[in-house]
């Protein structure tokens, strides 16, 4: 199982019966209702007054509230500094037992709705209609935090990884036992043709190097002389050597790179395709060394 990225970062609350009942009771005082909340109410069998206006989510002001730190300090000043955790633990399950869990699936309150509820309750409290606070409602709701989704690993990928691992291990094993096991001697790298071919390649690379250096020298020795006019012999040689050196330096870099690549290729035995015509060697190669 793989953890995937969290897609929905919103905090969700599963509304309790208490909350829905309260909303239902106060519905004549509700002038407007967010679309999500209205949907939840309707789904759970509550009716909405006709005068209620449905507002869209983006109409609700959703801003982080300012916390009055001074007031908080003042209110909690008479508490001991270290709150007794045992008391808290005793407190919490009690409340949960009071409110049996309501299996209201599929509908969740989002932050928008909570902001709306807060402002509505503030309004209602101001008009002395009710004396309920948001926290009393929230306490009876189930908080659902954003979570990672788990999804199984793609079996195709798994198979491919396994195959690649096997191949790699076989290759290593083969390299390790190449000069011990006599049956593995018949591999393309050890035949004369293969070696001649690779030597050929390297000889060509070296010959290219020599030719270009020689051409550079020729240009410095004759070409400049022809273009500019008669030059002293020593100066011509100097020019030729300088041009040849520049070309040699550049060529050397590429040559070293190429030869290094050859070494790497020689180090790692070639990948064997399963249906290779050279059956005798291949069958032994395909035998996995771990049983």
């Amino acid at each position: 199982m793989l953890k995937s990225t969290i897609v929905d970062t919103r905090v969700r609350l599963r509304p309790s019966k208490k909350l829905l009942n309260l909303l239902d009771k106060q519905k004549e005082h509700l002038k407007e209702l967010p679309a999500n909340l209205a949907k939840i109410l309707e789904k759970n069998g509550y009716s909405i007054a006709n005068s209620t206006r449905i507002i869209r989510d983006d109409e609700i002001v959703c801003k982080r509230p300012q916390i009055d730190v001074k007031l908080l300090k003042k209110l909690t000043a008479n508490l001991p500094d270290v709150p007794s955790s045992a008391q808290e633990i005793n407190e919490l399950p009690e409340e949960e037992e009071e409110e049996p869990k309501q299996p209201l699936t599929g509908d969740f309150l989002y932050l928008n709705d909570l902001h709306f509820l807060n402002s509505t309750l503030t309004e209602l409290r101001k008009n002395n209609i009710t004396n309920v606070y948001l926290y009393e409602l929230i306490e009876s709701c189930e908080l659902i935090l954003p979570e990672n989704e788990y999804k199984p690993r793609n079996p195709e990928l798994e198979a491919r990884c396994q195959r690649l691992r096997d191949e790699q291990q076989n290759r290593e094993y083969h390299k390790m036992t190449k000069n011990v096991d006599a049956t593995l001697k018949h591999i393309p790298e050890d035949t004369v043709a293969y070696q001649l071919k690779s030597i050929n390649k390297q000889i060509i690379a070296v010959a290219q190097f020599i030719f270009s250096v020689a051409a550079g020298f020729t240009f410095g020795f004759f070409g400049v002389n022809l273009m500019v006019g008669p030059l002293p012999f020593g100066f011509r040689i100097l020019l030729g050597v300088i041009v040849a050196l520049i070309i040699a330096l550049a060529e050397m870099y590429f040559l070293a790179k190429k030869l290094h690549e050859y070494d790497e290729v020689l180090d790692a035995p070639k990948r064997k395709t399963p249906n290779s015509p050279k059956a005798s060697g291949v069958q032994i190669l395909q035998k996995p060394h771990v049983d």
């Binding site: 982080r64 932050l111 409290r125 606070y133 929230i138």
Partner: protein, 157 residues
């Protein structure tokens, strides 16, 4: 008089608790978002590092290029600093070879490839995000603590 006073206090506590809860939800969302961003930028950076290695070839890097114990000392370019109100912030120092602020990007080559440069940017961004996430987490725990204490006060009344 005292009764009215308690009632006032209670309503103030209730409103405060409401806003604390709302703040908590906001902080949880922001924290989650921050964590996701960390995940994304760091995995982007890792992919870019892998690409750099792929382009350079396996043998182009060696441990000899990394400074060992007996090589010259240098200072950190990036430090965690305590800002006001217990928050932390990241302080970056400009590269200054005379005073020992070395750019580690040039340890491996004089001309670092483009993918390595962008990987560095990604990881720098990740560090900023981690500091932000730590700040958010501290704030969240402060709010949670406030909620706990306030609830006890309300329960006592």
């Amino acid at each position: 008089m005292s009764k009215k006073n308690t009632k006032n206090e209670k309503s103030a506590a209730g409103e405060l608790l409401d806003s604390l809860y709302l703040d908590m939800f906001h902080l949880i969302e922001a924290h989650t978002q921050c964590r996701i961003d960390i995940e994304r930028t760091s995995s982007d950076g890792s992919i870019l590092l892998a690409r750099t290695k792929f382009q350079q070839g396996g043998q182009s890097l060696s441990t000899a290029q990394i400074p060992a114990e007996n090589s010259a000392e240098f200072n950190a370019l990036c430090r965690v600093k305590k800002a006001s109100d217990e928050d932390i912030s990241i302080e970056r120092h400009p590269v200054d070879k005379e005073n020992g602020y070395v750019e580690p990007l040039y340890w491996f080559s004089v001309l670092p490839p483009m993918s390595l440069r962008s990987a560095v940017d990604k990881f720098k961004r990740t560090i900023d995000l981690i500091a932000e996430s730590a700040n958010l987490q501290r704030e969240l725990s402060r709010v949670l603590d406030g909620i706990n204490r306030l609830r006890q006060t309300v329960a006592l009344q």
